[in-house]
């Protein structure tokens, strides 16, 4: 096909009036046409072999949609399959996330709670305490996180039973012990008191310096200490008094006592720094019924003022 002749024919028809000018113009265009002739000489050469290879690939694609050549049903199958796969992935994700999510048990203020763990161990939780453990508890480990105070009766088991509380670790195999660890106590002190068996108690910072307790012994650790120490016998008179709904404090700072009363009676106690001022107190109450009696006593002894508020008391000097 001769392109030049085609171009001339069309332009001749449209530019009759000035034939000469048109001819000059036409020459220029023809020249331009010729000049572009070689610009794609660097185009790739496709060999017969390459053509055959490409054709094979196309045939493979054809076989992906069925014999009749209708692409839709197969496409739909793939789409359904992909959708199912996506759903399965999402389900697995949710299941996995669920399994990784720890179990929480928290006890409201003013109440205590009993709990039996999957391995048969029992926990008695004091007011306001919270424990957290994996859904795999008892199968790959027996690890518990504690905030607050609880009494553990641990059943013997191949797996070590460990309680992590405010930077302390208490490890046991089969025993019963009380563990008190409040993050709002001074120095986040953790106190472990062993009733029977044996426990190993250490801080997460220095696991190489543990304390080994035998029945009847107590040990404490707080943020200011490097390693835990044994508590002198009698220094804490009734560490598990709370289990019988008693209140017992041995040389405890007023802050600790007020915090305990808040949790036990589910009330709010406001006190300023001047009111507690590092003062300590030793006291015991047998199954007290109201917070007011206790607080009235404390305030009288320590020379503090007690006033009622909407949801509790205010204590000032």
């Amino acid at each position: 096909m001769n392109k030049k002749s085609q171009i001339s024919r069309n332009t001749d028809a449209s530019k009759k009036p000035s034939q000469e000018a048109a001819n000059i113009e036409q020459d220029k265009l023809n020249k331009m046409w010729d000049e572009t002739a070689e610009i794609f000489d660097d185009a790739p050469v496709i060999t017969q072999q390459e053509t055959e290879d490409a054709l094979k690939k196309v045939h493979v694609k054809f076989e992906q949609f069925d014999d009749t050549g209708k692409a839709e049903p197969d496409n739909r199958n793939i789409k359904t399959y992909l959708r199912l796969l996506a759903a399965a992935v999402v389900l697995f994700g949710i299941l996995f996330g669920y399994l990784l999510m720890p179990k929480y048990v928290s006890v409201p203020f003013g109440e205590t709670a009993y709990l039996t763990l999957p391995d048969g161990s029992e926990i008695h939780l004091n007011s306001g305490s919270e424990i957290r453990y994996s859904r795999f508890f008892g199968t790959i480990s027996r690890k518990i996180n504690l905030e607050g105070e609880a009494f553990f009766s641990v059943v013997p088991h191949d797996l070590l039973f460990s309680v992590h509380a405010n930077g302390s670790v208490t490890e046991v195999t089969g025993t019963s012990f009380n563990l008190r660890s409040w993050s709002n106590d001074p120095g986040r002190q953790t106190l472990v008191t062993l009733e029977s068996g044996e426990v190993v108690f250490y801080s997460e910072k220095e696991p190489e310096n543990p304390v080994r307790l035998s029945a009847g012994q107590s040990a404490k650790w707080n943020m200011q200490m490097s390693a835990p120490t044994l508590v002198e016998k009698g220094a804490e008179m009734y560490p598990i008094a709370w289990m019988n709904r008693n209140l017992s404090f041995t040389n405890q700072p007023l802050t600790v006592i007020f915090n305990e009363i808040e949790r036990k009676f589910n009330i709010k106690i406001e006190f300023d720094a001047a009111a507690e001022a590092g003062d300590t107190l030793t006291t015991f109450y047998s199954q007290p019924e109201s917070a007011e009696d206790i607080l009235t006593d404390i305030c009288m002894v320590k020379g503090l003022n007690l006033t009622r508020t909407a949801n509790g008391f205010r204590i000032s000097r």
């Binding site: 392109k3 069309n10 000049e35 610009i39 794609f40 000489d41 496709i46 045939h59 050549g69 692409a71």
Partner: protein, 189 residues
């Protein structure tokens, strides 16, 4: 396109509609190198050009039952290859090229033809640049006419316009290119 070609194409199209795979093979063997050359002018890479053309044939096979034997299968292939090439450029270029010929815009790519000297290479590069700057429809018509050897009637089928409009586009493209060249040489000499 003469009468024999037309009849051959009509027959081939009929066989395609009847799901004759050998008809597709014939068409493929005949058209593949030409279409790759065409796609390459857009994508600038032999690999992607080949992929684009294969995709066009797969599309053709999928819609074969809806083909009209009175319309040109070749025209369908050229317009499909062009559209797929432009999609390819759109999806693979970090910078929007404005759907122009990607290869022509590439400053870095030097034509590799052994017998070309530097002056000629520079000149060819310039012309490519000017073509890439043509309005889209003019560019399409010019490319199909000049480099793919399609006649005006075939181009009119590819572009879905009348053969007269095709001619106008080509004439206008040539005029624009001539003006570019005149401007360039008056500026440089």
């Amino acid at each position: 396109m003469d009468q024999n070609d037309k009849e051959a194409e009509y027959g081939l199209c009929k066989r395609l509609i009847g799901s004759d795979k050998r008809a597709l093979d014939e068409l493929f063997r005949d058209m593949f190198p030409k279409l790759v050359g065409y796609a390459w002018k857009y994508t600038g890479q032999k690999e992607s050009a080949s992929d684009v053309v294969q995709e066009a044939f797969i599309k053709l096979w999928k819609i074969r039952e809806d083909l009209n034997p009175n319309e040109s299968v070749k025209a369908y292939l050229y317009s499909t290859v062009r559209n797929l090439s432009l999609n390819h450029i759109r999806d693979n270029s970090r910078v929007q090229t404005g759907l122009k010929l990607a290869y022509l815009n590439k400053e870095a790519v030097q034509p590799e033809v052994e017998h070309w000297d530097e002056t000629k290479k520079q000149k060819m590069k310039l012309i490519k640049k000017w073509i890439s700057e043509l309005p889209e429809r003019q560019q399409e018509a010019f490319m199909l006419s000049r480099f793919e050897g399609l006649d005006h009637e075939e181009i009119s089928l590819v572009m879905n316009v009348s053969p007269r409009t095709v001619n106008n586009h080509i004439m206008q493209a040539l005029k624009n290119l001539t003006e570019q060249r005149d401007r360039h040489f008056s500026n440089n000499f």
